[in-house]
Amino acid sequence: MRFVINDTDIETDIDPRTSLLDLLREQIGLTGTKKGCNQGACGACTVLVDGERILSCLALAVQYEGRQVTTVEGLADQAGLHPLQKAFIEHDGFQCGYCTPGQLCSAIGMAAELQRGLPSHVTGDLSAMAIRATREELAERMSGNLCRCGAHNGIIDAIDEVFGERRGQQGYDAEMPEKVA
């Protein structure tokens, strides 16, 4: 069976019972993606499939044959860390780091949803085609990713800096001029 993981083609035989999470961690050795609850309740296992965030623990790998899967290992490039990874470091967006790979992948998927105008539970006007990336919107949209260390404020600060409505404003990211969304 063929999978495309972080732009690499991978052929492997799998038992249909294998979750996408176990395929990544146990068979391919990409242990960046974490197993927290293994039942959809924590978000630690979040990966991107064709750019959309999903929970790899509730996904049977066979369902994602041939699709583009991106894990935390696929976020950095030749130039270095993804801007969001740098922002997490800068804003103390973690303590133990266990939830971080899921937070990063989730936030990147979330930013794409926000950009294309998907409303959320806290969006006032459903007919608005553009939605302001307020902190309230960011926090609601990230509610599927729990952090047992309680680093949520730092996490939202980091996401706010890279994807929030104040991004690029004078003074806001002046301290970290190298970071661009």
């Binding site: 978000g43 369902q63 409303p119």
Partner: protein, 328 residues
């Protein structure tokens, strides 16, 4: 997980063929079924992936909407016609689960998701009539804070956990089904059963029957609708109580209304008694309260969920006031 074979259906007929040949179960996003299989509460021997079936949302000639069963929950809530004409449906979906789960979950799977009763999930340690018919129900004397206040039975007091279905019930949605005997349609309010003596028998679907789509009627006034969910935390939690409502007012009287409740029963609960009390009545808080009380007169509290009765009353009144205020 017990072993199973996996096949991908190319269209609805193919799904039906595969299901009858293999005696299998349909697989949507897997967010409920995979979880239950891992707990060996569900043990299908074959899975037929139906996510490749209709995933379009189409306008009907009569002005209604037809939503394919494989449409992801996110796509329903994002659709411009749903947001403009059936806002309670978009809001209900957006108040459920998380962004990741909504990206995976399908309309068909959401309708047929099973209860979150903790004793149902506790395969090894608890008695549950839904899991093992006849063995008893540990929720009735147990921790039943999340459980039903309407339509429960001595066999089972579980609730149906879907938010989306509450809005579909309010809107008189119809499920399109395909089975060995051909196509048929069922009002969503009739699709799920109350528990009665057989809580394991949850729907009117026949073995192998497939949900192909959900149809929303063309009622323009449904644009004045909303969904409110009360839960233990601000996001990513199941409903204690939820209310979907649409309100039509002519002059100072209510000319039509749709009201459905979540978190209260084994199925999405259409509040027919409250609707009857509201039709023709003035749109005032007093009448909203009387109507809510008429609906909840038959509510029966369990040891830990008596608070739900007043919470339901207040939430109904608040939602109707919000909609009335919007119109005024």
């Amino acid at each position: 997980m017990t072993p199973f074979s996996f096949a991908r259906a190319t269209d609805a007929d193919d799904a039906l063929r595969l299901a009858s040949a293999r005696g299998g179960r349909y697989l949507g996003g897997g967010t409920n079924l995979v979880d239950l299989m891992r707990e060996t509460i569900e043990r299908p021997t074959a899975l037929i992936d139906v996510t490749g079936l209709s995933s379009t949302i189409g306008e009907r000639d009569d002005g209604g909407l037809l939503i394919g069963a494989a449409v992801r929950n996110t796509a329903v809530a994002e659709h411009a016609a749903v947001r403009a004409r059936y806002p309670a449906l978009a809001r209900a979906i957006l108040s459920g689960a998380s962004g990741q789960i909504r990206n995976m979950a399908t309309v068909g799977g959401n309708i047929l998701q099973r209860t979150r009763c903790a004793y149902f999930y506790d395969n090894a340690g608890s008695r549950c009539n839904k899991r093992n018919p006849g063995e008893g129900c540990d929720a009735i004397e147990g921790f039943n804070r999340m459980h039903a206040i309407l339509g429960a039975s001595p066999s089972c007091v579980a609730t149906h956990p879907s938010d989306m279905c509450v809005a579909l019930a309010a809107f008189d949605a119809t499920a399109h089904l395909l089975g060995a005997d051909g196509e048929r349609r069922l009002p969503l309010t009739e699709l799920h059963h109350l528990p009665n003596g057989r809580p394991d028998d949850e729907t009117l679907l026949k073995p192998g029957e497939l949900i192909t789509a959900v149809e929303l009627p063309a009622e323009r006034w449904f644009a004045r609708s909303t969904y409110r969910k009360v839960r233990d935390r601000a996001s990513y939690a199941f409903a204690l109580i939820s209310v979907a409502a649409a309100l039509k007012i002519d002059g100072d009287r209510i000319s039509d209304v749709r009201l459905a409740l979540g978190g209260v029963a084994h199925k999405p609960w259409r509040a027919h008694k409250a609707e009857a009390a509201l039709r023709g009545a003035p749109a005032t808080a007093e009448h909203f309260r009387d109507a809510a009380r008429a609906e909840l007169a038959g509510a029966v509290p369990l040891s830990h969920n008596g608070f739900k009765i007043e919470l339901a009353e207040r939430t109904i009144v608040a939602v109707l006031q919000e909609l009335a205020g919007e119109i005024a």
